[in-house]
């Protein structure tokens, strides 16, 4: 009995079917976080913003996206912290040198979409404890194995379990990419709106978590550098946890304890303190719109007083 070629081919295909089924089954069992954890609602997070290649590194595998529903899978025990701050989505990607992908990326990039710049700042402020300031993004910090920064509403962390020698470079490149990708107007921090815009140095913003000017009670301070008529000085502002009035009383005591001379006064109709400090120079504080705002670094006390009047009288956002 003889069989035609067509019959043989059909038979062969039938024999292959179980093998194909087994292969598909086994592939389906392989652990792939990108498949298992991909948000079913279709939110792609910041995936579209992530470059395939950056800073001489290539993205390894697909990006993963987490939402409020499954964030706990990635930051177990810390999800509520982000959600309470306004967390919208988290995009996680791995980067390795081209050709060196081994299933364990050399660098991981976490991009938290926090819905608003102030939320992103809130996350950065909490997570950057003890880290060193870096000029990356709107505000940046780093430690031996992490670089973190905010860019508009995005809070970004770059981690490395390996040498980490390209970590800062990667963070800077990402900050640049993310800055251009965000809509105009969504990139500013409202905490800086209290400062006058005239003479404000473009990259002169910083945040000091503690011990501003060596004073323990000056915490979580936003600072803006200025250049006017060739002179450089700084304005600062913060919201004391005990309230402004209580803080002004404590400030008088603390300034006295450090050996400086404090004078109660008014700026723009608001309660203020003028300080003559042998070490820090003349500086001043005032109660401004529910915050404590001040200035330092002036060589001429008259200019300090004039700036304080301007700061205290400034309408928010102008």
């Amino acid at each position: 009995m003889s069989l035609s070629c067509g019959t043989l081919a059909r038979g062969g295909l039938l024999l292959l079917l179980p093998l194909i089924a087994v292969a598909v089954y086994l592939d389906g069992q392989r652990y792939d976080p990108a498949v298992l954890r991909f948000n079913p609602a279709g939110d792609v997070g910041a995936s579209a913003l992530l470059p395939k290649e950056v800073a001489g590194l290539a993205m390894e595998g697909p990006a993963r996206v987490y939402t409020t529903d499954n964030l706990f899978e990635y930051v177990n025990g810390h999800a509520e912290f982000f959600i309470s701050l306004g967390f919208k989505s988290l995009t996680v990607a791995g980067y390795s040198p081209p050709g060196e992908a081994r299933g364990k990326p050399e660098y991981t990039v976490d991009i938290y979409d926090m819905a608003a710049p102030q939320n992103a700042f809130g996350a950065l402020a909490q997570e950057s404890a003890g880290m060193s300031p870096q000029s990356i993004g709107t505000l940046g910090y780093s430690s031996s194995r992490s670089v973190m920064f905010i860019q508009g509403k995005l809070y970004v962390k770059v981690d490395s379990f390996a040498k980490g020698d390209r970590m800062t470079e990667l963070a800077r490149a990402l900050a640049s990419t993310l800055a251009t990708a965000q809509p105009e107007g969504e990139t500013d921090l409202p905490q800086f709106a209290i400062f006058p815009s005239l003479g404000a140095v473009a990259n002169g913003r910083s945040y000091k978590r503690e011990d501003y000017m060596g004073l323990e009670i000056f915490r979580e301070v936003f600072e803006q550098a200025y250049e006017r008529d060739g002179a450089r000085f700084f304005a600062f502002a913060f919201t004391p946890s005990s309230g402004v009035e209580d803080f002004m009383i404590k400030a008088m005591e603390a300034i006295g304890d450090m050996g400086a001379e404090a004078t109660e006064t008014e700026f723009g109709g608001s309660r203020g303190i003028l300080v003559h400090d042998e070490y820090e120079g003349d500086w001043a504080l005032a109660s401004v719109k529910g915050k404590v705002a001040g200035a330092r670094g002036f060589s001429d006390p008259a200019l300090l007083e004039a700036f304080m009047e301007e700061l205290a009288g400034k309408e928010s956002g102008s």
Binding site: P133, R145, A262
Partner: protein, 397 residues
Amino acid sequence: MKRREFIKSAAVVATASGLGLASEARNASAAGPSSIQTYRPLGKTGLKISDISFGGGKLASSSLVARAMDMGINYIDTAPDYGRSENVLGEHIKKNGRRDKLIIATKFCDYGFYGQHLPGDQPESKYIQMVEGSLERLNTDYIDVIFVHAMGEGSHGQEDRLFSENMLGAFAKLKKAGKARFLAVSSHGPNRMEELLMKAVKSGHFDIIQPAHNFMQFPKVPDVIAEAGKRGVGVVAMKTLAGAKATNIPTGGEPFEHAAFSWVLQNPNVAGLIVTIANVRTLKYYVEASGKPFTRQSQASLDQYMLAHSAEYCRTGCGECLDACPEGVDVASILRHQMYFADYGQEKRAMAAYAGMQKKADVCGDCEGAACQQACPYGVQAKRLMNLAHQDLSFPA
């Protein structure tokens, strides 16, 4: 209230400027009890340093350096990888001068975040380039002390870094050019600290050592310090507060920090200690400990601290439990990773290191004998701590 109708709340402290060491101390004395009382020779360097000196790891304000100098502090420790520490110190020098009244110690490492220590295989030019960067940030044309830093930390800690020909060659060139004066080595462990520092002392290459030294950890450090004393190698102590887990415990007598400092400084071969100073309050508080003798009250204060923390404090460098576990779990290393996780805030680093260990602490939960605990001469509750470590250091499944 009008601006000129003011209330003065404090007097201005005495002005100080352009003074030598003796007059620095005199001026500091004028400021009251918060002034340095003791200066000790730093080995054979010819330098004398304040017994309480400035750890600049969190230096954020240049005015704090000026205040410290006026209280008599004359030695400050910084590094390129302590954030903006070198820049801030440089701001102080630019503004206040008095460079010759300050002994500046910095490190052979890259600028940026902590952990940029140069490995041993770097070319000579790299070491020189690092120091040139420090000179620029510090606004100075010379550095007093250059450290090979953090021997025994992480993957570093090998002799090739300690005795790198290129490092030694670079330092010789820098010294000849008047850009660096003394070579030093530091270690805060956790690996082979005493062994590496002893080799450094005996090698004759180093003018100064800076060990982690306190009343709880590294029991063999006094041997190294004694050897350094014999050979004229200066000793600056660090990590003197033994982790400072909780400094508000009632001691009923001498403040814990002052007792811990005087314990270290009772060793005549220790020239001084560095402690992180971040604000005016801690500056004044620490300086008040200068010149204090170690007394029975000091010991009582340390005893209180030990009582509060001893059972949860694995002494880095001890190693008595190393061979105790029948399961072969490296108890000391796991508790060291836990220290990085819980005390140093280096969670991911600690978790990654733990993930790479062959034997983990998951077996400790069912352990009945707790041989590690039996072997510990300090009564550390190792079983409980190992279970906690496994919980903290494991990645979520």
